[in-house]
Symmetry: D2
C-alpha cells in the first residue's frame, strides 16, 4: 500500500519528527510505501511529489521546519481542486493520506474525508497550542522555551537600567505562549488575546513593581488588544509594515507606558525565532508519537480521525470535531497566574 504525506500551514518544530515516525513505522512494521507531497495541499493538487523512504528521513528528527515544504494552498478555492486531488491520488495509486497541519489544513482534510470519502488521517499542528481536541500540540513547548530564555535575558537589562521591557510573543487568538512563557520567565504583567487589557491597570502594575524597587517585564501576545481597540487601529506605526500583527501591540504598548508612567520602556518582538530551529525534547517525543499513531490509524483503516494527546496517552478524535472549537485560555487559569502580576 502507498501512503501520501503532506505538511500545511506555518512551520513548527517537530514536523520532521512526525514524518520520520510515520515512515519508520510504516515501512518497518507494515511494509508501506510513501509519497511525500510538496508544500501542503499544493502537492496533491499539482502532483508535485518527493521521494519519502527511510534514507530520506534519516537525521531529520532534530531539524526544525519540514522536509516536505509547506504552503497555505486551499484546494476548495479551485473549481476543480478536489477533482484533481482525487485524480492525482489515483494516478500514483495513493491509498491513504496523512495530513499534518493546523485548522485550515485539517479543515480541508475533514471535508475531503467527510464529503468525498478520501481516506485521510490528521496530525494536529499549531504552535499556538489552540486546538481544543488535544492537551498539547508539538512546537508549543519549543516556542515557550525560546520565549522563556529570552525573558530570562531581559530581566538583567531591566534591572540594570530600571527600565520596562515589553516582550511580544506569538499568539493571535490564544495566549498560551504568553501565559506559559510569562509565568516561566517571571513576568510581572502578562497580556493575552482572550482578555482585553486596560493600559492604566498595566501601568499600575508597573508602578507598583518599581516601588518594590525592581524593573518590570511585560509579556504580551501579538493578538492582545486594549480595552479601547481604536487606539491600536489608529496607531501609525501599526500599518507601516507588511505584518502588522507581528510587530504592533508591543511597540504601541511601550510608547503608552512611557507616556503614562514616565519610565523608559523598550520592546522586543521575538517573531520567527519562536517557531524555528530544533524541537525541545518534549516536542520530539510528542511529534514522534503522533507520527507512530497516525500510521497505525491508517493500518487500522480508521480514517477521518486526528491523533491527539490526552494526559500521557495518544488518542483518536474525529477530524470534524477536532477543528471545531478554538482552545483559548480559561479565565480561571489567567486568574490563577495573575497572583504574580504587579
Amino acid at each position: 500500500m502507498r501512503i501520501g504525506v503532506l505538511t500545511g500551514g506555518g512551520d513548527c518544530p517537530g514536523l520532521n519528527a512526525v514524518i520520520r515516525g510515520i515512515v519508520r513505522k510504516g515501512v518497518q512494521e507494515y511494509g508501506y510505501e510513501f509519497v511525500g507531497y510538496r508544500d501542503g495541499w499544493r502537492g496533491p493538487l499539482e502532483n508535485d511529489t518527493v521521494r519519502l523512504d527511510i534514507p530520506a528521513v534519516r537525521g531529520i528528527l532534530p531539524r526544525g521546519g519540514t522536509i516536505l515544504g509547506s504552503s497555505r494552498t486551499n484546494p476548495f478555492e479551485r473549481a476543480d481542486g478536489i477533482h484533481r486531488i482525487r485524480e492525482n491520488l489515483a494516478d500514483l495509486d495513493v491509498g491513504a493520506l496523512v495530513a499534518i497541519g493546523g485548522e485550515d489544513t485539517l479543515g480541508v482534510a475533514a471535508r475531503l474525508h467527510d464529503e468525498y470519502g478520501v481516506p485521510v488521517v490528521g496530525v494536529p499542528k499549531t504552535i499556538d497550542n489552540d486546538l481544543s481536541a488535544t492537551d498539547y500540540t508539538f512546537g508549543f513547548d519549543t516556542a515557550v522555551n525560546i520565549a522563556t530564555e529570552a525573558i530570562d535575558r531581559l530581566h538583567t537589562t531591566a534591572e540594570s537600567h530600571m527600565r520596562v521591557l515589553v516582550c511580544e510573543v506569538m499568539g493571535r487568538h490564544a495566549g498560551w505562549i504568553a501565559l506559559h512563557s510569562g509565568l516561566a520567565g517571571g513576568a510581572n504583567v502578562i497580556l493575552i488575546p482572550e482578555q482585553r487589557f486596560d493600559v492604566d491597570q498595566v501601568c499600575a502594575w508597573i508602578t507598583s513593581r518599581f516601588r518594590a524597587s525592581y524593573a518590570p517585564i511585560v509579556v504580551v501576545a501579538e493578538g492582545a488588544v486594549p480595552r479601547d481597540g481604536e487606539v491600536v487601529l489608529k496607531d501609525e506605526s501599526l500599518d507601516s509594515f507588511g505584518h502588522v500583527r507581528l510587530s504592533g501591540v508591543g511597540e504601541w504598548l511601550a510608547k503608552e507606558i512611557e507616556k503614562r508612567t514616565g519610565k523608559e520602556a523598550r520592546t522586543t518582538v521575538l517573531g520567527h525565532i519562536q517557531r524555528g530551529g530544533t524541537p525541545s525534547a518534549f516536542d520530539r517525543w510528542l511529534a514522534t508519537r503522533f507520527g507512530l499513531h497516525a500510521v497505525t490509524c491508517v493500518h487500522d483503516g480508521d480514517f477521518g480521525v486526528m491523533v491527539a494527546l490526552r494526559g500521557t496517552d495518544i488518542v483518536r478524535v474525529p477530524l470534524a470535531e477536532a477543528t471545531a472549537r478554538l482552545k483559548t485560555v480559561d479565565p480561571a487559569l489567567y486568574e490563577e497566574v495573575s497572583v504574580f502580576f504587579g
Copy 2:
C-alpha cells in the same frame, strides 16, 4: 496563620519555583506567614528554620536546587522524632506543613497526617517521574532536555569515528528519562530497568545499525540490568566507587559490546548535570502551579493530600495513595518506541 515549608530528598529543578508559588500566593491572597525548615525533615526535627517571605523568594524562579536545603532525614527512625516535630511545630505556632519531596519525604508526610493528625499537604518531587499519581513531576522535563542535548552531541562523534557511544542516564527503578531522551535523541538502543536486556540482542541492533553505515547510540538507564544479572555484580569496576549505580552499567555494557562486536565503544555518564541548573519552561510552569495549588489546599483545610497533574489540570490525591505504587514504563509503550531500535 503560619505555615511551614520543607524540601526533602535529592534536589530537582523546580523546587524553588514551588516554594515561590506557595509564598507569593499565601502571603498576597491569604495573608499567611511562612517558616522555612532547613534540610527536609531535619528542620522541624531540630527546629532549624530560615526566614521565608516575599523578599526571600524574589529571583529564585530560574534557580535550580532549593533555598531550603535538603536531606534524607527520617523522623520515624528516631525514638522521639514525631514527638519533637509536633512540639517544634507548636513551639513556632505552625498550623500547617507543606512537604515537597519524593516517596520517602511524602511517606513520612502521609504517616504524620494519617497516624498523628498533623495537617500536611504534599507536593510530589521525583526527577525520575516514577510517581503513579501524577502524569509528570517537575524536574523530569529538564533532565530529559539535558540528556537529549547530550545525545545530540554524541551523534557527531559516533558518526565521525564509527564508534558505539553509550550514554548512561538517571533512572534506578523506572526508565522514563532513558525512554524520553533516547527517543528524542534518536538513540538506536534504549535500555530500561523495567525490562532486563539481552546483551546479544543489543549487539545485534548495533551490528545492524553499522550495516546501515551509521554509528549507533545506546541510551541506558543507570538501573537497567542484563538478563544474567550476575555479570554486573561480578564486575570489578562496579564496586570500586562510592556510587556504584551511578557509573556501573554503562561502562560494563561498553566493554561487553567491544568484546562481542569488535567495535570501539565509549561511555558517557551524565550523572548530576541532569538534576541541576535552571528548570525548563515546562518545569517552571508545573512547579509553580503545584505551589499555588498546595497553598490553596491549606486554605481549604484539605490536608493529607498531594497535588498532582492530570492532563492540564492540577488535582488532589490522598498522600497515602500517591506514594503507594511506583509508575514504571508500560511494556506497550516500550514496544511502541522499539520501532527505532537497530
Copy 3:
C-alpha cells in the same frame, strides 16, 4: 586602602564578573576595601554607594547586568560635577577608582585623570566590540552567540516557506556583531554600517540564492545605511518609536526586498536579548581577567590606564588613547567574508 568601583553605559554580560574579579583579588591579595558606586558616574557625583565585599560578589559570576546599576550620567555636564566627585571621594577616603564602561564612561575617566589627577583605572565595555585598543571586549561573544542561535532557528522557517528572513542585530557604528553572527549563522547577505549597501545588489544576492533553491537569510546591523540614505530617513515607520535605530533598517529593508523581488520577506529584531542574560564562557574568562588586572594596576599605582586584550595577554594602554579611535570592520575582512554572499 579603599577603592571605588562603578559601571556606566549600557549593560553588558560580564560586568558582574569584572566586579567579582576586582573584589576577590583586591581583598584577598592586597587587603583593599571597596565602595560600590551606584549607576555609573551618578554614584560618586551624589555619593550614592552600596556595600561591596566578598559576600556581595558571591554567586554573581554567571549573572548578566550589573549589581551596581548603570546610567549615562556625565559629571562634566554639571557645573560643579568634578568638584563634587573629588569631594565625595575624599569624604569616603576613596584612594582610587575603577571605572568600567564604554567610550563615554572612559572618556570621563580619562579627563578626570589627565586633567584633575584623579587616580582612575579603566575597564573597557562595549557589546559592539568597537574599541580599537583591545582585540575583544566582553559581552560581544555572548551577543554573537545569541544572534547566531537566532539565525540558526530562522533557517528552518526560511527553507520551509521559501521566504526571505531579515535579522537585525546590534551595531550602530560598527558591524562586528553582524559580521561574526552572520558568518557563524550561515547568512547569505551581511550588511554593516561601515559600508553603505545597495538594495539592488542585496536583491541580486537574494534572487541568486533562491535560484540555488534555498531561502536566504539577511543579517543587518541596526546602523547599516543604504546608498541612498534619504530613503531611510523618509520612511514613516522609522520615527514612530522611541528607539528608531533599534527597529528601523530591518523592517525597511524587508519591505524593499518584497517590492523589488516579489518574494515574501520577514524581519526579526533581536534587540535587548543580545545584551542580557548569562555571559558566555569566553566573556566570563575575559571579564574576570580584566577585573584581576585592573586591581593590579591600582596596586602598582599605574593610573590613567585601561586594561585590554592582545592575543591571549592582558595589557595596559593609556585611557586617552584607548577611547580615541572607533574600531570598525576592515574592508578587507568584509571582502573575505563576502565569498558567502548570494
Copy 4:
C-alpha cells in the same frame, strides 16, 4: 586544479566549517575542483574518496563532526605508505592537499612536504588548545562552553546537599579546558596536568570552602596527576575500562576527598559531550576563516605551512615549527586564576 582535503585525529566542532570554507572559496574564487579523502590519511593511502563540491558542503556549517570521517592512520607506519599516497594523488591528478588535524596528522603532513615535496597546507585542530603556534584552535571554545554549562548546573546540587562535586574535563597534557571552564564556572579548585596536585591542599581548599558555608566544585583535567603518582596507578578502578584516562582521576579524587574530609563527594565525567555537537559562534568563525585562508595558501603556492590565529589575524607558520612544541598552561596564568581557589 584539483585539491584533496582530509580530516584526521579525534573529531572536533568546526571541522565541517573548515571544509565548507575551503570549498566555497576554492570553487567560487579560484575555480578549483576538490576531492574529499575519507578517514584522514587512510583516504589517500587507499584512494578512498568522496564527492566534495558546493552542494556537498551546503548546510554543514552548524554540524559537529566531519563529513569526511576521521582516523588515526599513519602512512609512515606502512612500508609503502608514502609511495602509495603519491601514486594515488597522481592517479586522481590531485595537485595539492589540505590536511586538517592535530599533532599526528600535521606531523605526517610536515614530513610529506619537507621530505617528499608533497604540496601540503595544514589546518590545526586540537580541542585541547595545546598547539603553540596559534592563539586558539577551533573546538576549544565549544568544549569550554559545554563544560561551563555543566559546572553551572553542578553548583545547585552541591549547594542543596552540601556535597563536593568533582567535574572531570578533557585535557591529557594541557589544562586549558579545565582552566577556562573552571574559571568561567566559578570552580573552587582547578587541577591541571601541568602542575601535580597535592590532595591535602585540595582538601584544605574544600574545607575552607565549606567553612564559608558553601559547597565546593572541583574541576579536574583528565590528565591531572597527584604529587604521589603511584596512588593513581595502583587504583583498581583505573584500568578496568577501555579508556582509563577518561574516567580515572575524577573518581579517584572524589574517593580520596571523602576519605580525608568526611564530606560526601560525587564525580561527573563529561567525556565525549565536550567534543560533539554544533560549534559555538567563535569556533564557526575561526574554523571558517582557517578554511578560507588555507585555500588561499594553495592559491599562493605557499606549501608546508599551517594557518594560525594571532590576535584577530590569520597568519601562516611553517608546519614543522607548528607541531614542534606543546602549548601548556603558563604557571603565572595558573597562579593568576588561583585567587579563586578555596
